[in-house]
Amino acid sequence: METTIQISGLSKSYAGNKVIENLSLSVAAGEVYGLLGANGAGKSTTIECILGTREADSGSVRILGFNPWEDRKQLFEQVGVQFQESNYPDKIKVRELCEETACLYRQPSSYGELLQRFDLADKREAFVSELSGGQKQKLFIVLALIPNPKVVFLDELTTGLDTKARREVWKSLQELKEQGLTIFLSSHFMDEVEILCDQIGILKDGGFVFEGTVQEAVELSPYERLEDAYLWFTGEEETGDE
């Protein structure tokens, strides 16, 4: 299968502390890859180094054959990104933020349809600052999909969403996956990882302690559920005294 994301030997340290070390992974076209790990395990740093918003100390990254650190313009025409924090100007409306985003791309998707799909159509004329946490999160997923991307990066996909909204987001992403979208997401919810991800990587202290499918992770561990397996891999299963 065609490789969409290829990462090798990615390392990054801040002030002498290694945040991620020698990470390698590859994601095939149309796959959903889930990057798991506790807070501070290096998930966001990994995503940011892949995208080039942080400069990696070493390693190489290819997305759709492009080097994101050098071929920004060509690459980001085809890549959508949702960062962990939502960033928007003061006093901007939902529609305006969508318009500003859409105008940057040659062939954007219709943001009207995306807003509808994520149940935000009635918020078009609302100020972004007035949206609830979950609505903002959904809006930033919409923004990541506006480029009509081949690959989308979603950092902390459904943090802050209620149960119903999470299921809606999953459903939409599954539909997009069926249309061939490659998805790279980070999450600490095992239920969504089980539903969405073809491949996962579990990060601990900046390195992988597991790489493979959800099923393989469960089989390798002494447990039957991914959540238990995940805790087993990260060595956090007996932290009840914390």
Binding site: N87, Y88, I92, E96, E100, C103
Partner: protein, 247 residues
């Protein structure tokens, strides 16, 4: 182009909603114009001059908006967008720093040109001022002064590490220029020692050019100012684009 207009339209709306520029770039120049008008009426600039003091001040008043937009508005907007990590989001889109800078320059250019019209309207309607220079020459000079002042702001906004630093630098540039370059307090009434100090400020040079252009003096008389304006535009603009930081 469509992309540019879409961005410009939205960013302009956001700026209007913010109100700061409406006050500092559109209202304040008119207020100062009215105050000078009330004080000086149609008194001649000097006993032998054929133009009034107020006509002489027009060039200076027209730069208040340039100063507000270029040295205050632009750097604060850019550093605010950086601090809020909006620029980081733009970094993962196909857009370029030059495009974003161009949109922001256009916003403050619109404010400046609007202010120019309002100030001229006020002076001519209520105080009988006439414009003795060439319109084309004045407009070109105005654009040159605007771009060179804006490039200072772009540089500050482009390289200041955070909003706080940007706002300190902006204040250090804005207030002295607003008061001592002659934009508000007329250069001609300053004691000569203060005039010499004021000459260091880039906007003072810009105002000299605008005065020459609006009163119909030959521009050769201010060639040094023209060179200084171009130098600021090229050096600061170059630094702004070269050292632009998304984050």
């Amino acid at each position: 182009m469509n992309k540019f207009l879409t961005m410009l339209k939205t960013e302009l709306k956001l700026s209007f909603r913010g109100m700061d520029m409406i006050i500092f770039a559109l209202c304040m120049p008119v207020v100062v114009a009215v105050i000078l008008g009330v004080i000086y009426g149609n008194r001649a600039a000097t006993p032998e001059a054929e133009y009034s003091f107020l006509e002489q001040s027009f060039g200076a008043l027209s730069t208040i908006a340039i100063c507000a937009g270029g040295v205050m508005g632009l750097p604060l907007l850019i550093s605010d967008y950086r601090q809020k990590k909006i620029l980081k989001r733009y970094k993962v889109t196909p857009t370029s720093p030059a495009f974003l800078l161009a949109v922001w320059v256009a916003i403050y250019a619109i404010y400046s040109l609007l202010s120019l019209l309002i100030v001229f309207g006020t002076l001519s309607l209520f105080f009988g001022c006439r414009f003795n220079g060439s319109f084309g020459g004045f407009l070109l000079t105005y654009i040159l002064v605007m771009l060179s002042m804006f490039s200072i702001g772009l540089m500050v906004g482009g390289i200041a590490p955070d909003m706080k630093t940007a706002s300190v630098i902006a204040s250090i540039l804005y207030f002295p220029m607003l008061i001592f370059s002659g934009a508000t307090l007329p250069y001609e009434v300053m004691p000569s020692a203060l005039q010499k100090a004021a000459d260091i400020l880039p906007l003072t040079q810009g105002i000299k050019m605008l005065k020459a252009a609006s009163l119909g003096f030959p521009l050769e008389s201010v060639w040094i100012s023209i060179v200084i304006m171009f130098a600021f535009m090229i050096i600061c603009g170059g630094i702004a684009v070269r050292f632009f930081k998304w984050e």
